[in-house]
Subunit: 350 residues, 2 copies
Amino acid sequence: MDKKKNVTFNDIAKYTNFSKTTISRYFNNPDSLTLENQQIISDALVKLNYQENKVARILANGKTEFIGIIIPDLYHHFYSEMLNRILSTYETFHYKFLVFIGDKSEEIERQYIQELLAYKIEGMIILSHTIPSEELSTLPIPIVTIEREDKFVCSVNTDNYMGGYQAAGLLARHRCDILIHVNSPSSELIPAHGRLLGFSDFCREHNIDHQIILKEFGHTHDSAKPMLEAILGKLECDYEGQKKGIFVSNDTNANILLNLLIRKHGTLPDDYYLIGFDNSPISREAILPISTIGQQIDTIAYEAVSLLVEQMNERKKRKPIPLNKPIHKVLPPILFRRETTEKSTAQTSL
Amino acid sequence: MDKKKNVTFNDIAKYTNFSKTTISRYFNNPDSLTLENQQIISDALVKLNYQENKVARILANGKTEFIGIIIPDLYHHFYSEMLNRILSTYETFHYKFLVFIGDKSEEIERQYIQELLAYKIEGMIILSHTIPSEELSTLPIPIVTIEREDKFVCSVNTDNYMGGYQAAGLLARHRCDILIHVNSPSSELIPAHGRLLGFSDFCREHNIDHQIILKEFGHTHDSAKPMLEAILGKLECDYEGQKKGIFVSNDTNANILLNLLIRKHGTLPDDYYLIGFDNSPISREAILPISTIGQQIDTIAYEAVSLLVEQMNERKKRKPIPLNKPIHKVLPPILFRRETTEKSTAQTSL
């Protein structure tokens, strides 16, 4: 059989001496055939190299082994690293990933999801914030979200609250006079909001002066830099002579702030302590390795795919037992103390 | 019609009053039906929401609108940015992307490609270096490669030779005494090898002392850093007091080298000029914006998808005209002069 030529129902019918209607029934309603006849056709498909056309198999059993991923951008190192890790689970789970960048238009994202559903994807991992989880939960396939609003769907997240609490704690142990948290405005419903809560709670519980600065920094270096420059200018004025501990909600922006400080002062000044969030590559690639609250990106990726696979497998059972309520896995953050806070032990003067 | 329920051939047969065999023929051999009857069935599929199951449409016309992507890693900013741009063409071309990370194992990559073919993907964009283009050219779908060996397949690449030539030219204009090129060992067949050739040719043509340093830097910051540290130590010894112009083959490593220099000297010393390659985000996010040879990543991504779509469309014609020989699109690089070379105009002392 020539591998390049598609095997048709006609070919299978000839080979098995069944009618084309029978072959058609095999794909559309296999239970209408005896197990014996199913086996004969199934064997013929192998002989005829029909296994090369998984599309037919999908029609037969609904198993596409496709997972859809919707990710907001690959500019933030957190997302590109997360995508890297999710895709790398192919070697373990053998699922194939259809990837879509989207975080702006509900309409385009819905259109994309509808397309994916039409292709019979078996599950989705969603990192974009566009569509509410209540709507996602009505989709006919299992969903796992990562670091986004997840009330009605399964999710794998970092314990952001603990992360914010740890960040404030580290800055407080360095006896900063004022703790500052720089973040983007976010709904209380998204996990990352916990960073702000953990930070605030620590400061309140320990009676530490603190300020929260919320800005839309956009998705590019060029949009974020001037805003962070303005914030820094204001901090220098407002807290002159005070020891400032700054907790930035992601490493990408923490790096920009660090560069601005070093460009201005020739070094990270003694009255500045800086910690980011994510433990993304830039926190290590920066001029001074940046202290950060690490998300366990490889574990999150693995757990998300694993949780999704479990549910996809459940749906393939004859009597699938649906989940009573969504599963929310929460992974502890890891504090990385690096040179932007541990100044005594490091070469901080450049 | 309940949207969640699959529409079967039976449903379509009932609705149209055709036999199931006729419905089956519509999908498998539509030309055996009159155009009128094809239209009746086609209309019924719309009414019955059958358009929701694209898998059936694939069986009928082979158009999956899937493109496979194989990318070596998302650690190098060049690759994550390229993937970002390729995925973003969804809004223009409406193709869906199946993405795979692979650059090590021929066996796993072949297995992955076979899987993708079984799912009837229509084309592939390949950035990994694993499988020779001669083998890729035997696959039954169009292939476009980006920045890899491409003798037997279509490709979109940067004019790497011109890039290397420009980089050396810029360093020479700054009257460097010695030009150094830091790269990984590469086959002469890959486009990036042109960086080395362009650099060498410029130096030879202009009688400039130069040295080529080739090392396997690996795929992580931790593997590359100590090697670049050793290289820098040797350069400081070998060319003490001389004005050194260093052309690093990618921005990720150029950033590491820049940080090492600034960490050691408190500033980028006057006798060092540095230029990277790619114009990837790190070249802007670095402590000093790094001069670089820009690849037009957005244009490359667009051209690659566009070239692939052209060929995929050609194959759908009744009498497709195969390409006589592979098309190789080459895009000019763009020189970005930034602070690691343009010292007179910039604040270079930190």
